[in-house]
């Protein structure tokens, strides 16, 4: 399902690619597809509406920067607006502090508590944990087992019923630890006694941080729950758990918007090491089901190279070995072709499999062989007969077989381009693709 969504999103972007001016209908379609992608990633409906409004206005109103095509322009706006949504990454300081964990039942607080203890421990801090979950059977056993594995002291009493008392005792018992993490019972916003309990715990612990644990699969309810938690204790960080499933974590965005805080950690896996600091780019890419947008920009920037491939001639079918040489050179700087194709928001266009087959080592060989050709041969590969082939092979330190292979590849590329030429006006703009490959913006 997600695949079709991201494909329609890519298709919508593709439509923008060929445009010289920002086209209202195309932007509308893009925004519509974006909405669907975000909604099915569980982003709050109101947030999605605000976001799409901002993207639409900005795309249509802002002047197209020089040397930027429409697609890049719109893509950048989309990207900026999305980054704005996730706010800043919350800071994690390596200093003595008390952290209070809060969240719904089954969101993964206890596991996350142990993971965070491990995180600080690895950074060289002295960590202690208090189990203030006096309700769920086995909660203390769970936390103490996990803590025992990493030699972190865990304070708790499975028989106690008063979370406030446990926390008081615990703070006294493990006060020599630099970082104290208080795991609490799962609760939701509609349980007033439990909300009062966590308000009290917050007062007792004088917690420096109050982190809200959000299940990646949490839906529209996330907003409401986060708001209530925020009202109660002032959430200053959000942790998304269970990102190893297929859930996109859009609910966490609602929580972030409600609490005006950042995402601290992401939990993705069942072992104690499976905790990562939050990375906005990766998160957004996953949300939209598209390749890593930022990585693509960086790659394209790194590959700053001359752009004198004669596009016009090429599209007319005049594709010589010289063009291929430049193309290979460009590709070499940008990484494997297939990877690039996956990063481009081009939709699901198909190139013949053979095009991908040229590995980077082979590309280097091809270039060496072409270096051994003379100008005439480069312009008109048709004249290469067996005696020329012998000479080229010897010059490149290879066999005539290799030269033959190169020519075969050239013919295939030639044919592919010819085939695509017919489709230029239709769904796919080859020119744009070639420009992309050669690093022209």
């Amino acid at each position: 399902m997600m695949d079709t969504l991201s494909n329609s999103l890519k298709d919508a972007l593709k439509k923008l690619a060929g445009k010289a001016v920002v086209d209202r209908a195309a932007v509308d379609e893009l925004v519509k597809n974006l909405q669907r992608a975000l909604l099915s990633a569980d982003v709050n409906v109101k947030l999605v509406m605000e976001l799409s409004k901002a993207i639409r206005t900005r795309s249509l109103d802002e002047e197209l920067p020089k040397n930027t095509n429409v697609r890049d322009h719109v893509l950048r706006i989309v990207y900026q607006e999305l980054v704005r949504l996730v706010y800043a990454t919350a800071d994690v300081k390596l200093e003595p502090q008390v952290i209070l964990m809060a969240g719904l039942q089954g969101s993964g607080k206890t596991t996350t508590t142990a993971k965070i203890a491990r995180y600080f421990q690895k950074k060289g801090m002295k960590v202690g944990v208090i189990c203030a979950d006096t309700f769920r059977p086995g909660a203390y056993d769970q936390l103490s087992t996990l803590c025992a594995k990493i030699n972190v002291p865990c304070f708790g009493d499975p028989k106690a019923t008063d979370a406030r008392k446990i926390v008081k005792d615990g703070l006294a018992a493990i006060k020599e630890q630099e970082i104290i993490i208080v795991d609490t019972q799962g609760r939701h916003a509609l349980e007033p006694e439990l909300i009062q309990e966590i308000i009290d715990l917050n007062v007792i612990t004088k917690a420096n941080h109050r982190w809200l644990v959000i299940d990646a699969a949490l839906g529209q309810q996330a907003s409401e729950q986060a708001r209530r938690f925020h009202e109660a204790i002032g959430i200053d960080g959000v942790i998304i758990t269970k990102m190893d499933g297929t859930a996109k974590g859009g609910g966490a965005l609602s929580a972030v918007a409600e609490t005006k805080s950042g995402i601290v950690f992401i939990g993705a896996g069942e072992t104690i090491e499976n905790l990562e600091r939050f990375d906005a780019n990766g998160f957004i890419s996953r949300l939209l089901g598209m390749g890593d947008l930022q990585a693509l920009y960086e790659k394209a920037q790194e590959a700053q190279m001359e752009s004198d491939i004669d596009m016009e001639a090429m599209m007319k079918g005049k594709f010589t070995l010289r063009d291929m040489y430049k193309q290979l050179e460009a590709l070499n700087k940008m990484g494997p072709l297939k990877q690039i194709m996956n990063m481009l928001p081009m939709g699901n266009m198909q190139l013949p499999e053979g095009v991908y087959d040229v590995t980077s080592t082979k590309m280097v060989r091809y270039r060496i062989i072409m270096d051994s050709m003379n100008a005439k041969e480069l312009d008109d590969p048709g004249i290469i007969n067996s005696s020329r082939m012998q000479r080229i092979a010897r010059g490149a330190g290879g066999s005539p077989e290799e030269v033959r292979e190169l020519l075969k590849y050239y013919k295939m590329m030639h044919k592919t381009l010819k085939g695509l030429r017919g489709a230029t006006s239709g769904k796919f703009n080859m020119k744009r693709l070639m420009k992309r490959f050669s690093g022209m913006q």
């Binding site: 399902m1 909604l39 409906v45 719904l104 059977p137 299940d215 990646a216 309810q221």
Partner: protein
């Protein structure tokens, strides 16, 4: 439960009724054009009487054919309503299509109220999606004992608590129950289900942590056969549908214990992912019924609609709180009736 969704649906319904009414108004030149239909936020109570009056005034002696245009705005409102209620996108699309085909082109007879027409379309769309309920006690009575029930689901949806609740429920109904502590992975899981079983006075079969869950559950079934126990409740570790090895472990459990019923447990607050994972679980190990937990957190209930629609299996219970008795058998007819009940 579901009261939030109910309110929203009522608003959407009023909107639909309104736009059809408005269409009637424009086709009746004598009448003044219908005023702006009150926004969704207006409390339905205030709206109903005025609407009823309006409908009375507006319906002249003519038959009205509902056109696509009349309902498109209202339907997109309904779409937002469903999305906001956590009904997954593809499911929302399906419901909207259903309502549209139920409304568009319909001839409305004189006297037949717009409201009835709209309610009818919505009701049949929702009933279509929610399917029939599932009567567990009746199922157990009708089958050879022990009836083996396997619980599956992703992490943290409340499988263990649900096992305890269903254990308590069945015990109250007079069945004898044994629980198999099949979650040998998560720290504290055996202790958790152990405490529940002890409190409820239910026999539990457990191995130590890290043991093969298939072996635990096999032993549980053997115990039930030897002791002529009515029901085996098999708890399992939560697992993500993306972990192939864990899913094949679940498949092995299924082969070893041969469950009569596989119950898929998910939470009412889950968003769009509920659909993805329910489909995956259904595909790899199958699911005969669904239990939706944490329904007390959420008054929207969209996940119920999403999951039921995706795998087409009945909803068995709703978990509505932390106590053992907080479990309600799910009756789709009653729920839809309640959702669309005329008097708010």
């Amino acid at each position: 439960m579901f009261s939030g969704l109910r309110e929203r649906l009522l608003a959407a319904r009023n909107r639909l009724t309104g736009s059809i009414g408005a269409a009637a108004a424009s086709s009746a030149p004598v009448e003044k054009p219908a005023g702006e239909i009150p926004a969704q936020t207006v409390a339905p109570k205030n709206e109903t009487p005025s609407l009823a009056e309006k409908v009375k005034i507006l319906i002249v002696d003519r038959e009205l054919v509902v056109s696509e245009k009349d309902v498109s705005d209202a339907l997109s409102d309904l779409e937002m309503t469903l999305l906001e209620s956590d009904v997954a996108l593809p499911v929302t699309d399906a419901i909207i299509a259903n309502v549209r085909s139920g409304l568009v082109g319909k001839h409305r007879k004189i006297g037949e109220s717009v409201d009835d027409l709209v309610v009818g379309a919505l009701k049949s769309a929702l009933l279509n999606v929610l399917g029939k309920g599932f009567d567990l006690p009746a199922y157990i009575k009708a089958h050879e004992r022990p009836v083996k029930i396997l619980f599956t689901g992703v992490n943290g949806t409340g499988k263990t608590t649900t096992v305890a609740k269903i254990g308590a429920y069945l015990k109250k109904q007079g069945f004898s129950v044994v629980i198999g502590a099949g979650d040998t992975y998560r720290a504290g899981a055996i202790e958790q289900i152990g405490v529940h079983a002890e409190r409820l006075g239910i026999k539990i079969i457990e191995h130590q942590s890290g043991a093969d869950p298939s072996a635990v559950l096999f032993d549980t079934v053997q115990y039930a056969i030897a002791h002529k126990t009515d029901v085996v409740l098999a708890d399992t570790a939560g697992r993500f549908h993306t972990k192939a090895n864990l899913m094949s472990q679940l498949d092995k459990i299924r082969r070893v214990m041969k469950p009569d019923l596989i119950i898929y447990v998910d939470e009412a607050v889950a968003g769009n992912d509920a659909v993805v994972r329910a489909a995956e679980f259904d595909k790899t190990v199958g699911a005969d019924a669904i239990v939706l937990t944490k329904a007390d957190m959420d008054s929207r209930g969209g996940a119920a609609i999403s999951i039921a629609h995706t795998i087409g299996k009945p909803l068995l219970f709703l978990g509505t709180g932390q106590a053992y008795e907080d479990i309600v058998p799910f009756e789709p007819g009653a729920v839809v009736e309640e959702l669309l009940g005329c008097d708010a």
